[in-house]
Subunit: 206 residues, 2 copies
């Protein structure tokens, strides 16, 4: 039985993501299909990027602070989305605050609807160019997933959930996370959507 | 004849690189074989990353300035080199000044030895962990390539070559380059070794 437990643990990938993050969008859209293909279980780990950036001395996304990199990123996103067959509209607000959906994702991290929920929120931000922090923008998404929207929204805004998200963000910081998406396979860290495939190959080889 | 000229132009990739840059190391080692496979001609564009970083308000490499990212980068390099089958020793000095080999690369950019020269310099830095800015470290490399080492070194240190490298670096800045390696296919910019394959696919489709 010990051997079995070890196998289960080693084929897990921790997926640290933020709804404001455009490269997290690519990974959120891809990860369930890719992880399934590699036989790897996903541990969904929503966190807040803002406090991480501030702890690193940045008052905003590096894509906003560094003009040249920012200009490049939107070209890159257009090409990456075309490559992966994903929709893409450059958000008129960036980065978009997504505390509410992050709290919902935290509540649903172990639930079967987590992947679908995250994809809808990401499409709201990066395809429909809509605010993702409004309860009335979350309600139709939750209802489509067959969930009691009012109840989920109430739980998401409870003090305990707020504290959990702050705790998870603090954990991201102590793990050395400096951007999103970030993947962990055991102690091995992989940064960026460009490393999702490497991380899954590594996880499935453990 | 006009059609032929257009075809030649559209299957070119501009390769902007720096010998100090660890991700440029990956691309320098890979680009000749990959470009050949895609039928794309390489335009070698050595430049100085230091003045670019300073123009962006950074006094050093972001891998030195950002402790968390720096720690990650060396793990990532180890894994990337394993993936590509390349040697890897974390340099004891980073970033290593490589003005002299950049000047030699500028002189040799159109010569058949450019690829081999750049690979030797990169291996000196990232496999042998040796200073790359010493004339007596360049001499054996140049001699192995069958070149008149003393003559090449003298030309590399001529004022006109120094001015050319400064000019090429200024061109990098005006093109919006903010890191290395960077690739251009016509006006389309691709940043990072992770985009070399996309850039070559794009070039070969033009």
């Amino acid at each position: 039985m010990i051997a079995r437990t070890e196998i289960v643990h080693s084929t897990e990938i921790e997926f640290w993501f933020e709804f404001a993050s455009n490269y997290s969008y690519l990974s959120v859209m891809r990860i369930e299909a890719e992880a399934k293909r590699h036989g790897v279980r996903i541990v969904w780990r929503p966190f807040l990027l803002g406090p991480i950036f501030r702890a690193l001395g940045m008052e905003n996304s590096p894509f906003v602070l560094q003009k040249e990199k920012g200009a490049y990123v939107w070209q890159d996103m257009m090409r990456q989305c075309r490559k992966y067959g994903l929709g893409w509209v450059q958000p008129t607000t960036f980065p978009r605050i997504g505390v509410l959906p992050l709290r919902i994702a935290l509540l649903g991290a172990d639930q079967p609807w987590i992947g679908a929920f995250c994809r809808r929120v990401m499409e709201l931000n990066f395809v429909q160019d809509k605010d993702i922090n409004l309860p009335n923008h979350m309600t139709p998404i939750l209802e489509e997933l067959g969930l009691p929207a009012a109840d989920v929204l109430a739980k998401a805004q409870a003090d305990s959930t707020k504290a959990s998200l702050r705790g998870q963000t603090e954990e991201a910081r102590t793990k050395g996370i400096f951007g999103a998406p970030t993947f962990f396979v055991g102690p091995e860290m992989f940064w960026g959507n460009d490393r999702l495939d490497d991380a899954l190959v590594y996880a499935s080889s453990q």
